[in-house]
Point group: C3
Chain length 336, copies 3
């Protein structure tokens, strides 16, 4: 595939500073780009990298001049490069295919263009929408529903009664709908509480690799529309994550905790059970969150506190040695 | 299925306050219950939720009156609701079935009512007891023994020589018996130490989704009776976890560390290698445990310290700003 | 298999203190050894264990006398016991075998002695070297290359375009080449950035169970020669880990961060994105690393600081109560 600078600039509503006739055959970041690739610069900070890049043509939303380069200036470079990416890597259309090495249960319903790869197991009463990709070795329990345009990559395990929306992506190794961790004590014995709920996943959700999302004890564990989860995340029973919240890798959320919408949550964060996190909350990596957090907070640390307060406390801590010395000196002065 | 309040009260040794003839067709928590569901209240804290619940009949161990509701009063509401759960969701009996899409090795021994789903691989010299469920895509290495009434959910990987007891549950994606992380240095080269041990799991153990339990370097990694592990837990080579210890998600235990019995360990806790944790120890979430801990301790923080001591130190820390000011004032007074 | 003490001493260049004719039929650690096993002592600290061991013959690099035992004295006991391990547990030779229950794509190239177990899926244009083991249920995407003498254990998922070197070991449940976690914002909407890179793994790399290694957004995520990763580790897109670095379980590395060579990194460590860690850096467990770290540093804590500095600050913190008291006393003295 090959496009001219002019073609690309039209596609992304950009203005050309330089040669519009250059032919572009790929896209890459500044470092990995070849001479015939188009590249992009996301901030002036990378000017040096841009100058040193092999790429002759660079998309930018801040600069209209880089030494010897042709620039396509746009409003938002990140969105523009996504558009160009899709030009060079158009999404492959879903094909109608059911491997004869798969195992399909009773009462299976499916839409158009559903692809089911080898060694997939689909139990009874499963319903799939249109344009769905089910990778090799995926397990889908009974009474599962999956909406249109969803991709379930190889080696995912989806337990009974899970409901998945449209345009969802679930990466390999992830388990959806395992039992919640619920026990009662009976005279020193630990008795399992049967977990009879399920997992409900909204539209446009992405879930990374090797996550574990438990079903509800009763009713659903809920992951709402536009939520994005990174790899190795733990979501316990009856957790609810509101829409458009983004959570980085290895974070864990204990039972029945509610996370608000539009939150940005770092990696390796831990949430105790039964708390409520507001909307538009930002939480630093490795924070330990042990109580309700109001809307629009920015917190970090263990136990998590407002970032400013924590930074202030840390600054005082770093001056402790100085304080000890000063008190010693005062003490000596007084004794004199 | 339908039961009267009288039927249920008899089943759970409860006393009825209200109408004994109401017909119940399901069980749910207060929030999700429908009119014909029975529900339960675990503490007076949820009184409001109980009053607002659709459920007409509520199990309680503390209250005998809730506005307009029929109450079944019992000694322990949590145990009672487990009993009622089992009434409505009786455990499905294990069926005698071996999928012809599975692959079974030589010298395979098994008891009665063993269910082996599609794409299961069982290597040579494997022994299974009675009433065992092996989910789709499970891998069982050679010389593995699994006790009766055990459930191995879909996509679990069990490596050679693993020994698993009775009434065990292992959730999807978990790996039992991978190599321990052992290396020796030889003139700057990193040499792998072959890991020739195995994993031994007792009775009534439950292991969550996507855990990784390494085999011993020599001899066993041991998970004793009644231990409950949540999701995404790491157990290194030659760790031993004593009976009835409960560990929350994403905790990691380094090599050869021994954890006592009846411990309650939070999520995201880390244990260094070669330490001994006593019995009846409680450890807060995200703690970093770097030395031996005596019986009956309650610790938290990194490095982990007695909870009271840590809380006390934190309280002083929060007053640091005040202390700096006070010392400044003293200093000025003296200078005067 | 049986070897005399003399045979073994010759094999490991050891000097015998005791009986050279004893017949040895196995190897074990001091605690698990039987009378006919050879064992080893790695430091004088374990002298008591050595004396109490059933083993009659012990390999040591520090002692030439232990009560009633025959000693084989060597230069490096750890390396010697690896040699003896390999005597008793010779590596099984790789066999030429492709299961007829596997699924192999078009244009498949492979060397000699390649073993492909049941329910393996290999997509188009895959190239395997010699002496390769592919465990049951492994998924290998299209355009993947795997070097000779590599072992991929059961239930591993390897996505398209991954390049794996020679003598690599990848443990069960691990996912290589899932999408990186990259999004752009467009008027409050979260837009996925297509991830078109791949993962490149060098020679002599070992990766533990249930890890998640994302492919690059563009170009590769790189794990260089001799890197050893433990279980449940997260490696984000475009991370690069230089040679001979060892990382313990549950550590997470955010996008584009570079880790130097010969680093030793503890468990549950978190690295933010886009930072550079030097060579020969040691990082304590649970550290949170949020900025560039120079060569030869030893750091720990969150935020990570030089270990000595942190220990010093902690010592002052532990004396805070004392300081508050002292300031109170000074204050009283002054007021008098």
């Amino acid at each position: 595939m090959e496009f001219s600078v002019k073609d690309i600039a039209e596609k992304i509503n950009g203005q050309i500073y330089g040669k519009s006739t250059i032919k572009i055959s790929g896209i890459s970041d500044l470092k990995n780009a070849k001479k015939t690739d188009i590249s992009f610069i996301l901030s002036g900070r990378y000017l040096k990298d841009a100058e040193n890049s092999e790429a002759e043509v660079i998309i930018s939303d801040s600069l209209d001049k880089i030494n010897k380069k042709t620039i396509i200036k746009v409003k938002n470079a990140k969105l523009a490069y996504i558009s160009v990416l899709k030009l060079f890597y158009p999404e492959s259309e879903s094909l109608e295919y059911i491997s004869d090495k798969s195992s399909i249960g009773k009462n299976f319903k499916k839409g158009k263009n559903v692809f089911i790869d080898d060694f997939v197991v689909i139990k009874d009463n499963v319903e799939l929408g249109d344009n769905i990709y089910i990778g090799a070795g995926v397990y889908i329990g009974s009474n599962v529903k999956i909406g249109s345009n969803t991709k379930i990559y190889a080696s995912v395990t989806i337990c009974d009664k899970t409901v998945i929306g449209e345009n969802v992506i679930i990466h390999s190794g992830t388990v959806i709908g395992s039992d919640g961790f619920g026990f009662a004590e009976d005279n020193g014995n630990i008795i399992k509480i049967p977990q009879i709920g399920f997992v409900k996943i909204g539209n446009n959700v992405e879930i990374g690799a090797n996550c574990a999302i438990d079903k509800g004890a009763f009713g659903p564990t809920i992951i709402n529309d536009n939520v994005k989860l990174d790899n190795l995340i733990h979501v316990a029973h009856n957790v609810e994550i509101a829409e458009s919240t983004v959570i980085a890798a290895q974070t864990g959320i204990a039972g029945s905790t509610k996370i608000g919408s539009h939150c940005i949550i770092g990696g390796q964060v831990g949430f105790v059970d039964h708390i409520n996190i507001g909307n538009f909350v930002k939480i630093g990596s490795q924070a330990g969150v042990s109580k309700d957090i109001p809307d629009n907070s920015a917190i970090t640390g263990t136990p998590a506190r407002p970032i400013k307060e924590l930074r202030r406390a840390e600054a005082f801590m770093m001056r402790l040695e100085e304080l000890f010395k000063k008190v010693d000196e005062l003490s000596k002065k007084i004794d004199k």
